[in-house]
Symmetry: C2
Subunit: 338 residues, 2 copies
DNA sequence: TTGTAGGCGTTATCAA
DNA sequence: TTGATAACGCCTACAA
């Protein structure tokens, strides 16, 4: 059964294609009797317009490309949800692309999205080396909003959180609780670097010289973080700052396997809150990123750039906040009662 | 800066549009000298084809619509990941639609995807009432694969797990451990009904008459499940079967707040395993669905139907398996040592 | 107020 | 082997 097209509706309603089109796009200049006839024909024939043809003709853009590195990461899940919500509210929709931290896949998807004539991209790039590609895309007229991992060195819109400050807060909290040998496990990406900076700054502020052995790369995944934590534990830290949610889980697991009591023997603070953080083995104290707001803000910036391609480039920086739970918060109670 | 189009490449390479098109689609019948000239022009001008125009002309379909009810649900996250992987492997991509259990939103998205000329849909429908709409879509020529919540009563492809059997296993496990007053919290959807059936069957097999007061709807979300659990606890169950992951979390939280020891006072088994289930307050015993396989299988069925629209309708049923952890597994050890 | 006709960027058919 | 041309389904000057 071939597809019903505009011509079929026109034939049925005994008008021209142009008139049907006008009705469908509710142009004012169409007699109500004719309008009814057309609408009726549409109903009868179960006609629906072809968005491809429409887009090709009108040049409209109503799809947002979302490129992230890991669907399984709670951070991105919340961001995606926010972007989807915001897109839906704008009568737009999203193409979801998971790069899995794979450069080839990122390239493929960026090219694809460009070929799709997307309205714009919301991207979390894996690495600084991709900046060039993104720039080229942008020059080509594709609005791009960076999230999570911003790249300095070029005019781009982006939404970020203050990672340095967030990390500093977390570590300061640990210091206040009396921890002195605070270890850090960070992911090998720019945000990880920033969190490492915050960590070091907090230590220095407290007159402590950062110890190389306590600063380790935790990888991207729970598994690698688990192993990294095991190694870190050889240097007997009294607290661990896990610089993203996957690492938090890996660390939690390692501490559990080692039979170390949290927070009594080792305190734990994570970066990234998770919906079920309070239900973990030990409820996790964490630096919460405003993930939903990040997604919303990203879409807002995107729409802004779409409507005004020459607007000044803007980076929105959001603040994190520390959610204190038992994985180190119990110290607070002890010190408070002391 | 206007977009580079086929004509521009043709002009630059001093050939016709047709020839450029042939090169781009690597037709055999094109002289290699000309081919090189064209490829060079493409390179120089940074030309990339317009997928919209190409699709319109060729009638090809390379996007898969994925319609699910809740991005935040771990079950769907894993399925989405699998679908995305499989799509990528097929040079296709996905439009992700989150319905949030909202009928209006479902309708909007289904219409949208139809207008987008998607290759097919992978859908988790909220309710049986949507069957009609899906049927209409299917009649219209859109391949549809149902996941999670299958609807009997119409010829449709689908991937499902054996919910009745999975639930039965979970409850049998509890029975074997000596539990007698086993409560169930289930979601108000068809899968919830099936799991309820399995629960009841297991009880009857053990000579226990299901008690109405121990069977409660847990809602869709953690919050509602939390409250439902609190009510259920008034009827002092010695075990709880939480029929999806959100409910598991809600139940876990309620038990914790009430200060009930798991599994000593109340044992807990969930449906749906989560990557971090072992890191929970009490590691959760759960009926694990093969989520990744579900996603893969869904795409496989979809491709099958696309290539052969008249193939027999097929429902693939996958098996679950019980992952025993401490939230009730400790009983096993006790009874084993007894 | 309605209809005619051309074009969005590509591919496929036909000649040459 | 290559080029001109129509067509994919729709929208929009422009003319009537």
């Amino acid at each position: 059964m071939p597809k019903v097209k505009l011509q079929d509706v026109a034939d049925y309603a005994q008008v021209s294609k142009a008139t049907v089109s006008r009705v469908l796009n509710n142009h004012p200049t169409v007699a109500s009797s004719i309008r009814d006839r057309v609408l009726n024909a549409v109903q009868i024939l179960d006609y629906y317009p072809d968005r491809l043809a429409r887009r090709l003709r009108k040049g409209t853009r109503d799809v947002i490309g979302v490129v992230i590195s890991d669907i399984q990461n709670p951070y991105f899940q919340s961001v995606i949800r926010a972007v989807e919500d915001a897109a839906y509210a704008q009568q737009m929709h999203i193409v979801l692309c998971n790069t899995d931290e794979d450069t080839a896949r990122l390239n493929t998807y960026l090219r694809l999205l460009q070929e799709e004539n997307v309205a714009g991209l919301i991207v979390s790039v894996t690495d600084a080396e991709h900046l060039e590609l993104l720039h080229a895309l942008q020059q080509n007229g594709t609005p791009i909003i960076l999230i999570d991992r911003l790249i300095e060195g070029g005019p781009m819109d982006g939404v970020r959180v203050d990672n340095v400050d967030g990390a500093r807060q977390a570590v300061q909290h640990l210091l206040k609780l009396g921890c002195r040998r605070i270890g850090i496990l960070y992911p090998p990406v720019i945000t990880g670097q920033e969190r490492l900076q915050g960590y070091q700054a907090a230590l220095r502020d407290a007159g402590i010289t950062p110890d190389e052995r306590l600063m380790r790369v935790g990888g991207y995944r729970v598994e690698s973080a688990y192993h990294a934590t095991c190694e870190l534990l050889d240097d007997v830290p009294d607290a661990i700052f896990a610089a993203n949610s996957m690492i938090s889980l890996g660390a939690l697991r390692a501490l559990r396997v080692r039979g170390l009591r949290i927070p009594h023997e080792v305190a734990l603070v994570g970066f990234d809150d998770m919906p079920w953080a309070q239900d973990l083995y030990v409820p996790l104290t964490a630096v919460a990123q405003p993930t939903y707001e990040i997604g919303q803000e990203a879409v807002r910036l995107l729409l802004r750039r779409i409507s005004d391609p020459n607007a000044d480039f803007r980076t929105v920086t959001l603040r994190t906040h520390l959610v204190v739970r038992e994985s180190c918060g119990i110290f607070l109670q002890e010190s408070a009662s002391t």
